[in-house]
């Protein structure tokens, strides 16, 4: 980046990716008026999504982009490093941010007090900044700072829920999230004392010559546990169901679509491009532990989901189960496994966002998301509920939908490893998904409408469009897998190509 003659905006895309929403958030806070703030936040989030798309195209054409922030060359300065994996995650997060923002206006008008709406959008953009920052930075400590930026704003977004339990959920998430982040920072500290560097690439180069001795093992343990708290890996998921259930609808959709995905990205970054899969999976019993936890999530959390009477909680427990699919793919640590994990990150973001947005529309109309209040609501809000059904089928893994593609690759990866037993686990988990999704669809479509459902109708167009768009995308990416599978395969090859 040094001695660039003249100022060319294209060179600074990596910095703009984070700076645009950051400055946008500050301006948003000054606007004070809810509608004005929404308009501004929409412009900023669409601009952010456009930048991520440009970055993605640039990385696909020309390979990894390295950007020394402030003109300081890496590894001395903070490096923003956009490889295909980063670009893929940036694409998911920023587009989810933009699409949910289109939807947000009506929903936020309904759920947030007038005086707080501008603050809400400000926090939303800050959270977006943090999540994008984690995905783009090549510096381990910088990732911690962005993690806290996104988490602190996320706690605020959750606490704005109408129910007083939103405050409690936010507090519990704050405690768990901070413990997770602190574990991460302890891990980074040990790595720093061990290698003298904070740059992921630089650490990787210095670790190559080292044995996996006690400090390195301690470091990876702290990092893994810390990030697992953030991504809600099975026994560490206790914060998630309440946070999803009591947060405002827009927050839930945003949280479900992005936050856990970015944490999974960070775990992949640590496992594959910092330590290298040889160190993580061959010397340590990572595979056994991760497979056991993933399987518990896929079966256990799915079973719990069947018995919830709040639609948002059903979907929240299903999220824990779906994270299990992704971590199972990572635990396999082979080409197909990583491909399935990456594809599922994309597909799950797509379908869970669609589902939660549809549930948000129901909340707008009838003010409840309890299952028995949704009885027979299908014919009353046909477009929303048809979209809900489509995304629900994808969640089960019906062929022809995006959910099938990721499960197909996961099963292929398991067979490739020769672990036939796990194929039955995947099938069993899908079967349980049939029950919890089926239970929702049965109530929504085939029961006599209750008192609340009688007066429901489809939501305004600004909410309907994102829901319908996402559910059509669920079908689109079930058929056309060029964006998802091909890119995911390239990323998997890059990650397994290992530490140079």
């Amino acid at each position: 980046m040094s001695a660039a003659p003249g100022f060319e905006l294209g060179h600074h895309l990596p910095a703009l990716q984070v700076v645009v929403p950051l400055i946008g958030a500050v301006i948003c806070a000054m606007l004070r008026n809810g509608t004005l703030a929404w308009g501004w936040a929409l412009i900023v989030s669409v601009l952010t999504a456009a930048i991520s798309t440009m970055l993605f195209v640039a990385v696909q054409a020309g390979g990894t982009i390295s950007y020394g922030l402030g003109g300081w060359a890496p590894p001395y300065g903070i490096e923003y490093r956009v490889d295909l994996l980063s670009a893929f995650i940036l694409l998911i997060v920023s587009w989810a941010g933009a699409i949910i923002m289109v939807y947000a206006r009506q929903s936020v008008m309904h759920e947030i007090d007038a005086g707080k709406r501008a603050w809400y959008y400000c926090m939303y953009l800050l959270c977006l900044t943090g999540l994008l920052g984690i995905a783009i930075t090549g510096d381990a400590f910088n990732a911690f700072v962005f993690m806290e930026v996104s988490s602190l704003s996320m706690y605020t977004l959750i606490a704005m829920g109408k129910n007083r339990r939103a405050l409690l959920s936010s507090y519990q998430y704050l405690i768990m999230g901070t413990i997770g982040a602190t574990f991460y920072v302890i891990g980074v500290g040990i790595l720093f004392t061990l290698t003298g560097s904070l740059n992921f690439v630089d650490i990787a180069e210095r670790l190559v010559t080292m044995q996996m001795e006690r400090p390195a093992i301690a470091a990876i343990t702290f990092l893994t546990v810390g990030i697992s708290l953030k991504l809600a890996l099975f026994p560490l998921h206790s914060w998630l169901p309440n946070a999803y259930a009591y947060a405002p609808s827009v927050t839930t959709s945003f949280l479900a679509g992005t936050a856990t995905k970015v944490a999974i990205y960070l775990l992949m970054r640590i496992f594959f491009s910092t330590f290298g899969e040889a160190k993580v999976f061959e010397i340590l019993p990572t595979t056994t532990i991760l497979v056991l936890l993933s399987v518990s999530a896929m079966i256990g959390a799915s079973l719990v989901a069947v018995f919830q009477d709040d639609v948002k909680r059903v979907l929240a427990y299903s999220s824990v189960a779906q994270v299990g699919y992704i971590t199972l793919g990572i635990a396999l640590a082979n080409d197909l496994g990583l491909t399935s994990a990456l594809v599922h990150i994309f597909n799950h973001a797509l379908m869970k966002t669609a589902l939660f947005l549809a549930v948000g529309a129901v909340f707008l109309r009838i003010g409840s998301v309890r299952l028995h209040d949704l009885d027979g609501i299908g014919p009353k809000m046909p477009v929303t509920m048809a979209a809900f059904a489509l995304a629900g089928f994808a969640l089960i893994g019906t062929p022809g939908t995006a959910g099938f593609v990721s499960k197909y690759y996961l099963a292929a990866a398991v067979i490739d490893k020769g672990w036939w037993g796990l194929v039955f686990v995947i099938a069993a988990s899908s079967l349980i998904a049939v029950f919890y999704v089926g239970r929702l669809l049965e109530a929504i479509w085939f029961r006599a409408p209750g008192a609340l459902a009688q007066k429901a109708s489809d939501p305004p167009l600004s909410m309907l469009l994102p829901i319908v768009g996402l559910s059509l995308a669920v079908i689109w990416f079930g058929v056309d897998t060029r964006l998802t599978v091909d890119v995911a395969h390239n990323i998997a090859t890059m990650l397994l190509g290992g530490v140079k």
């Binding site: 911690f144 704050l174 405690i175």
Partner: protein, 131 residues
């Protein structure tokens, strides 16, 4: 035995750090009072500051300002990192306390078990009114 003791004594910063870390985490888990939990969390986070700064200080080293009289300097980078971490810690504590105030307004208590009890009562009441 003597060598072991010596190792412990020369590494006393680590012992202090780990003691703070574990006691902080214990308070977070064992206490039901929300303010006490935050105190524990603060203690836990503070121990990490020591974890970074301890190894960065070099005995006999001075502040990293180039001067002909000095040749041994402490590593400035961990200090700078921890300055950032302190800011993050303060922000987390402030948000945690703000949430505690709001919880106290909404529930009239900041003891976790009492809050759960009140939510159970509310839940039972809403079930009754629904049926």
């Amino acid at each position: 035995m003597i060598a072991g003791m010596e190792g412990l004594l020369t590494h006393y910063t680590y012992i202090v750090t780990i003691f703070l870390m574990v006691s902080g985490l214990f308070v977070v888990i064992a206490r039901g009072n929300m303010v006490k939990k935050l105190v524990g969390l603060g203690c836990f986070q503070t121990s990490v500051y020591l974890l970074y700064i301890g190894p960065a200080k070099i005995l006999g080293g001075t502040a990293p300002i180039l001067a002909p009289e000095y040749s041994v300097y402490s590593n400035p980078l961990p200090h700078v990192l921890i300055l950032t971490a302190i800011v993050v810690g303060v922000a987390t504590l402030a948000l945690g306390l703000a949430l505690t105030v709001r919880i106290n307004e909404a529930y009239g208590t900041i003891e976790e078990d009492e809050i759960f009890a009140r939510d159970m009562v509310e839940h039972a009441n809403s079930e009754e009114s629904a049926s």
